[in-house]
Amino acid sequence: MHRYSGLLAALVLLAGLPSAAHAAPSVKLRVSFIPERLGQSTTLEFGAQISAPNEGVPPPLTELDVRYPASLGLTVGELGLATCSKRRLEALGAASCPADSHIGEGSATAEIPIGPSVIQETARVAILRAPEEEGHLALLFYATGESPVLAQITFPGLLLTAPPPYGARIHISVPLVPSIPDAPDVAVVRLHATLGPLGLTYYEHVRGRLVAFKPRGILLPRKCPRGGFAFSATLAFLDGAETTADTKVPCPVRGGNASLP
């Protein structure tokens, strides 16, 4: 009888565990610099591939936390010399924001389970500098999807402190995106973003004339950290699951290749 009680208790405990205790989605993280030259301004390229453990559709992504090395001059440079408000972005779209508020762009691919089949949709993402939020440097992400789900979604990001060896982290709250009635929310399976001057043109008034210029981007240090530039990303999902992926950008070497020291 006692044995059955113990077994029953164990089963109850197992049943009561949150879904986070189940296998979490796996994430492959990829980061690179464009160009990859120490001591120079660069654009940070970020990619993440999310896979469900059972090869199905992963649960919807709710939070993304990207940590980067302290030696990266993310706040040095000229990215985001202007800001765009959430209200303006939601009402008029990213094109209405000042050119000098754009700091990057990217895409997000989502999977939408409809009946037995799964369809994919890729949304374009604009990344903009926003007014300060509670004393923190703030970003805004504006995602535009067209088919099969027509949606424009604005969601925030904050630059926060991070424990060593990281210098700071970008914390992004990802909203749930309804798909079709009675179907689950869309699930992000692939992210790609660039943060830096690649593809950006800023403008300034010089003696009464509007002059275009290329903003200085993220400044790389002159010396590469031992082992390369370490990045880490933690993703949280709607079912409570959480997973972390790490990667390193190898140290650039002369000749254009890269290596891990």
Partner: protein, 169 residues
């Protein structure tokens, strides 16, 4: 996201230093120590001296010397109670941190500080505190805390730093 500040002050005043000195004065003390290390050492080992108050109200206009990743190396003149020059190493981040040395004719002052940046756009203000850790010459015994304020121009990488408060030396 961090910005550190290193300041070097070169005293341009006569040897007799004013009783009130700014953040630049602190830096001056550090400079004096560098110019007269023996004097600084003997002062540290000598009998207790009467602490005097130092006004730390100064303004430094710094320009970028070089940038390395999140570190900015800046220098420029200081005006205020104790004119001179300042060198600062700023580490930029969510919080700005840094060290400074100021040099004046009367001495130099060294210290470090931390400040929180605010605002968005080209000009970013910051506010924090600095700690004076050492000095030379007339300011060999300098110590204390001071307020730290400033504005950073992200287009030119120039910084205006103001310090307020009182130090003892």
């Amino acid at each position: 996201m961090f910005r550190s500040l290193r300041i070097n002050i070169h005293d341009q005043r006569p040897t007799r230093a004013p009783r009130r000195l700014g953040g630049g004065a602190i830096l001056l003390i550090a400079g004096v120590a560098m110019l007269h290390p023996a004097e600084s050492l003997s002062a540290e080992r000598g009998p207790a001296h009467a602490a005097r108050s130092l006004d730390a109200t100064t303004t430094a206009h710094l320009h970028l010397v070089r940038a390395e990743g999140s570190n900015l190396f800046e220098q420029g003149p200081i005006s205020g109670a104790l004119p001179g020059s300042m060198q600062a190493e700023l580490t930029t981040g969510v919080v700005f941190t840094g060290s400074f040395t100021t040099h004046t004719r009367g001495g130099s002052i060294k210290g470090h500080g931390a400040a929180t940046p605010h605002g968005a756009g080209r000009y970013q203000s910051f506010k924090g505190t600095l700690v004076v850790t050492s000095g030379t010459g007339r300011y060999a015994h300098v110590s204390g805390h001071a307020g730290l304020y400033g504005v950073f121009d992200r287009r030119s990488d120039s910084v205006i730093v103001q310090t307020t408060g009182k130090l003892s030396y």
